[in-house]
């Protein structure tokens, strides 16, 4: 039996998780170390090794695989310090990228930044026009060559880019997803003329319909490519220095992992992978299975992230958005708003109304109570004022909180609206809880789901303070703090429990009835690609699972529904079932009678998700130790605001690490963990399940 290591690098902290052969989890948390980040990686992993009673080299010697979540690609994009990229496009279409379909001015920006015309602009270009080259060539919508590729012209274009000292070349021609021959030929020319350059083509990366989102994907791939590849090489190098020669896997935004060398080839797949691990953990871990469909919420210092797990799988978005660029990389759909512990509480100039966020005090100066010079009141200050946070036991006692500063800051807002410090704090938390509930509603109701059919997972440092309240507002039946104190490193645990995943897709625009031969051939190609790849990764064929999907829509309508394609040979019957399944799913998501049936069914894309299952250590399960909490867990009581009673009252306080399977804690109570705090109001009842999940059943509370 062997160990599995997961390391997740965030902006502030690097979290490491070690799963031992007995299914126990060992944690390590250390500061991140920008700009290199490697030191933080090894610091955190060493800490987790120590917790497991091993030295780092000993641990690695017994480790079957290391899984790593990194923001290196995201950082390159957000900080715009990626590679010097050259882009080659079809003659006449150089401006595809800079025009950004116009929507790039506001894509992904907050509504406040959208309403005011001057408040949002297009981002600085990742490829300036001077490095976008046009080449004579043209393919039409049927894939036929209308203008042959001008190879001499292509060579000249490449030469100019090489002379301009580009570090990477991206190639994106119109309709290349149907006929990639011109792109592939230009790729060959680049490889001939400049063999060391990072080169990437849109038809290989994302053979999908829509030149802007395809071009953006390939340009971003080139932009973050060299930096990410260098980082991954450094990592494998250092691991090798420590004697480790088994696989390093990198977390991708689609919710699986890739071998390091595949990640280095297409680093755009890592963009936005940061908040994905938590959703994957909820989808994959045995300990989450009892809870059915899950809303995964993660609240940290600056943002609140929400993702969904339905039918055991994360919910995906077909495109990613980073830095206002929208591009064709399927991603686990995680939506965020700027509601975190650091969100600033302020007063509307006109309404004399309390508002919260989206501005955040961030880590510096941070909330007033951090004593780092912040004077604006924040949600963390409100939580301190309301008695939820323990000034002497924040981050396990690592940071003393300044109660006086929190009160003074809160008063600066309260005085303007005639409210006391406490009233202001209550107001601010109520508002932020509503903001979070609104985001969850947006992610569920607008997508055809209802929160009452989901369990809510509370992850990250700050969620436990608010989760009982927003869960109640949504009418969800159950709140879970997964694995108790492990919730704060949930994302790293998600990484450690991920399977290999290759998402292969391509556009195939067809009108029903579909051809069984064409389906067999098209899916066959995608599957063969995945199996070849998984064989390279040494995955045993019995551990390979390939799921097939088709994106279908009604003619004349735009809603696309990803529909599972049944298993087995492509018979007329199977395709008939596909159409029926599409129609049923359409009705479920969009409502009865909303399909434009008379216009027929169109297919736009086909896709496979090829999973290489990795053996996962089974998580340890505890024996029932009874409802009564051990005396060692009691940590006294303190006055805090009870949102159910609408008054301050005495809350019992408990050390979360001391809670055992079967223990029950009734609200009003506060459970303090090293990295997070869980607040239970009157009538909330928490039960520790065998995995160590803290479970609040709302139906029992009603």
């Amino acid at each position: 039996m062997s160990y599995v290591c997961g390391v997740d690098i965030g902006g502030t902290f690097t979290d490491a998780v070690v799963l031992d052969p007995d299914g126990r989890i060992h944690l390590g948390k250390r500061s991140s170390t920008p700009p290199g980040f490697e030191d933080g990686f090894f610091d955190a992993l060493s800490a987790a090794a120590e917790a497991a009673g091993l030295g780092l080299e000993d641990l690695l010697a017994r480790t079957s695989h290391v899984i790593h979540g990194t923001t290196v690609a995201t950082n390159a994009m957000v900080q715009l310090n990626g590679a010097k990229v050259g882009l080659i496009t079809t003659r006449g279409h150089r401006d595809v990228l800079p025009m950004m379909r116009s929507i790039g001015r506001v894509k992904g920006r907050s509504v406040e930044e959208i309403v005011r015309l001057s408040a949002s602009r297009k981002p600085e270009p990742i490829v300036p026009r001077s490095r976008i080259e046009e080449v004579d060539e043209r393919v039409d919508s049927k894939g036929e060559v209308v203008v042959r590729l001008d190879e001499d012209g292509a060579r000249e274009a490449i030469r100019r880019l090489v002379d301009a000292e580009v570090e990477a070349i991206a190639i994106s021609f119109l309709w290349s997803f149907i006929n990639p021959s011109h792109e592939l030929r230009v790729r060959e020319l680049v490889e001939e003329m400049a063999p060391d350059l990072f080169v990437t083509t849109s038809s290989e990366l994302v053979p999908k319909w829509g030149e802007y989102e395809r071009t953006a994907a390939v340009a971003i791939n080139a932009f973050v490519g060299p930096t990410t590849a260098a980082y991954i090489n450094r990592m494998t190098g250092r691991l090798a220095d420590l004697g480790y020669d088994r696989p390093l896997y990198i977390v991708e935004c689609a919710g699986g992992v890739l071998p390091a060398e595949a990640a280095a080839e297409d680093p755009v797949l890592l963009l936005g992978s940061g908040p994905v691990g938590g959703v994957v953990a909820a989808a994959q871990l045995e300990s989450a299975k009892p809870f059915g469909d899950i809303i995964v919420t993660d609240m940290g210092g600056t943002s609140f992230d929400v993702g969904l797990v339905t039918d055991g799988a994360p919910r995906y978005a077909a495109t990613s958005v980073v830095n206002q660029y929208e591009f064709f990389i399927p991603i686990v759909d995680v939506q965020s708003i700027g509601s975190g512990g650091g969100s600033i509480i302020w007063v509307d100039d006109f309404g004399e109304t309390v508002r919260v966020g989206p501005q955040s005090a961030g880590a510096r100066p941070g909330p007033a109570c951090y004593g780092r010079g912040g004077t604006s009141p924040t949600i963390s200050d409100a939580n301190l004022v309301l008695g939820y946070l323990n000034p002497d036991y924040f981050l396990g006692g690592a940071l003393d909180l300044d109660v006086g500063a929190a009160h003074a800051a809160m008063a600066s807002v309260g005085d303007r609206v005639g409210m006391s410090v406490e009233e202001t704090a209550v107001a601010a938390t109520r508002i932020v809880n509503h903001q979070m509930a609104d985001l969850i509603r947006k992610l569920t109701i607008e997508r055809g789901y209802h929160p009452r059919d989901f369990s809510v997972f509370s992850c990250g440092g700050a969620a436990g303070l608010h989760a009982t309240e927003y869960t109640a507002m949504l009418g969800s039946p159950r709140l879970v703090v997964p694995l108790g104190d492990t919730a704060s490193v949930w994302s790293a645990l998600g990484a450690a429990s991920s399977d290999l995943l290759y998402v292969h897709e391509r556009s195939l625009i067809r009108v029903a009835p579909f051809s069984t031969e064409e389906f067999a051939e098209a899916y066959g190609e995608l599957e063969a690609r995945a199996r070849t790849r998984l064989a390279l990764d040494d995955v045993d064929p019995k551990d390979i699972q390939i799921n097939r999907f088709a994106d279908l829509k009604y003619g004349g309508q735009v809603n696309v529904v990803e529909t599972p394609v049944g298993e087995g040979a492509f018979s007329a019957e199977l395709l008939g079932r596909l159409e029926d399944d599409f129609e049923a799913k359409y009705e479920r998501l969009y409502g009865k009678g909303t399909g434009h049936r008379s216009a027929g069914i169109e297919m736009t894309e086909i896709r496979i998700r090829a999973v290489g299952r990795k053996p996962k250590p089974e998580l340890a399960r505890g024996e029932d130790e009874g409802a009564e909490v051990a005396a060692s867990a009691a940590a006294g009581a303190r006055r805090a605001w009870d949102a159910v009673l609408g008054a301050f009252t005495d809350f019992s306080v408990w050390r979360g690490a001391e809670l055992r399977t079967g223990n029950r804690v009734s609200g009003p109570a506060i459970i303090e963990l090293a990295e997070t705090t869980v607040v239970l109001h009157t009538s909330d009842l928490l039960i520790v399940d065998p995995y160590g999940n803290f479970v609040c059943e709302r139906s029992q509370n009603a």
Binding site: R94, D95, R101, V147, F350, D438, T594
Partner: protein, 750 residues
Amino acid sequence: MTVFDGINECYVPEGPIAIDPSVVLHREADTEIDPVTYEVIRSSLWNINVEAGEIIQRVSGSPIAQYAHDLNTVLLTEDAEYLYTGPYNLNLAVVVDLTVKWILEFRSADPGIADGDIFLSNDPFVGASHVTDTIMAMPIFVDGRLFCWAASTFHQYDMGGTAPGGYSPDARNRFEEADPIPPVKIVSGEGEVRRDLLDWYLRKSRTPHLLELDFRSQIAGCNYSKARVLSLVEAYGAGTVKAAMRKVLDDGERAFARRLEAIPDGRWSTRGYVESALPGDRQVYTTQLNVTKTGRRIVFDQEGTSPQAGVLSISYAAWRSGIMPPLVRLLCDDTMYALGGALRCAEFRPLAGSMMCASHPAATGNPGIGICQAGSLASASLSRMLSTVDDESQDVFAVAGTSIYPISALSGVDQSGNYFGTIHMEPMAGGLGAFRNADGEDTGGTVYDALALAPNVEFSEQYFPILFLYRRELPGSGGAGRFRGGNSGIFAYTPHRADVIDHYTATSGMAIPTSLGLWGGHPGATNRDLLKRSTDVRARLQEGRIPQSLDELGGEVEWIAPKVRDILQYPDDVWEVRWAAGGGFGDPLEREPEAVLRDVTRDLLPADDARRFYGVVLVGEAVDEQATASLRDEMRAARLGPGEKRPAKAQGEHVLNLGPTLEVLRGEHGDEVACRSCGTSLGALAGWKTRAASVALSVEEVNSQIDDPARYVDAPVYFRSYCCPGCARALDGEVTVGDDAPYDDVELAE
């Protein structure tokens, strides 16, 4: 006496509406609401519209909703005041209150208004922006009393009439367009759709099935909003929710009034022109929008506007809706577009029978011209007014591109026998007008659509039998200025797998620029459709070369007029569309030479334009500072003309700035206007332009993407720049036609 009842004249409600006593309004509101409950309800009210809009888009699945966002959702109080409007098409945000007021006034007795009803209308004389926008309005009842309204308006692909899509270039009156439907109760009582009425409604359309999906989507949107409102009422009580609604309005009113109070009292006007009322017409028509601000009131009127003519006319509702986007962008950005409060301070005074408030039976189906023009004029007048506010955080901007939507429609049957039809959506990528402190964004969108989205070439080529030769941003199309207007774009295509394509146009802004500059900034590019006949395009493609301009092709150029029908394009013909770009802000000679250089090196400005409009001399990749300084001196001298000039300096105390170039001083002999750079007096405010050094140039001289107006209209069209007789700074400018004299665009109250 003119009766504005929505029958012969457009509906213009005045004073309290007479409502039949059978309908009881729910008016009770708690007198107090705690700030937190308020904030929670307020954000829910905002989100309800956003979510209802999402649901409409999802249920309809309509490309018009998805790509043009041509819909909007609103919540109205029981008596039809706006609470919030969705962040979709801002023109459509404000057309619903008129329809609901009309329903209250004319439908409350017969057939009555009851719980579960939904009314449908597309009547522009009542309150729709044009006949292809369907309004659905649902009263929401609490305890048997009318509590509020949920409504939406949604552009339909086709509602019948002689032109597919409804933008007829040649309708002489409304009988030659789709039928207007005054409000009918299409869902009654128990929430049941009246199938007979629905069939009658659907029968009008070339695409009845799509019309029905859109119809169902609007019903779903109404039902969703109703459920959310009722759940708020259940959670907080009707009195509390009503109190929150009142406060949204009161706060919006206070916020708006406070911003108005920071502005001096006065009247700001903008005159603009549109051309060609019907095919073959070469006349020019005047439109004017005047904003009078007194204390905390703002009045919009259309005095100076030509009488209704051909397809240029719009209804009162459309005129008012055109004003909304710049109004909310400029003055409601801090209240999340809480329009209702703002409208309490606003009044709209139409001129019956004018082009901007047409009388029945005028054709009003083509709002791409009139609504856009009303919006552009309002944008200019409001920005001019707000230029008096010396606060850089107050947005002020020149008119944005796509200032008249270049409706250029194509239709036909492709080689597989499938019908196709569309209008180009590329112009949604408008060049924004220059701001008071920044350039306008290139292909950055429009003022009226907060989420403007242009299609992919691959989308258009998939669904329409065309092949794009090029589609790109157009360097130099944005108006020159200290801050330049955003560039628009241009594209050209040839039929591909179709033997013939049938075109019509229904636009304006081809002869006369409509993206006006501000404070000396030049106008942005004009709209243009060109058809090059019998070219060698196919041979060229065969040879392996993709032509990148019409000049590279043989054949004959046909200049397409603003209103034409049945122009046929054959496989050897190439059609090119250019859309209007953003206006510039301030004197181009004051633009930082480095910014001009950057534009040239980034291919945003032709090198020739650097010298021609900005007086910047470039040597390779650098600015020749000395040559630039002397060229700019020469250009300034040319503005003043020959002869010695010793203009007087203004005397007196500073009263206010009219804008970045002009101030008002108060001396012993009253107020006078002065150049803010050199203090030269321009005399009294009235008629100051006549005392400036005036330079009139034909419009094609001030932007390399404006063409000779004589191709379209008979009258000459000028850009007149009014310069300081002392320092030659361009103080302001205007587009003017024929013998039209300079007009006073600012009057200040005593």
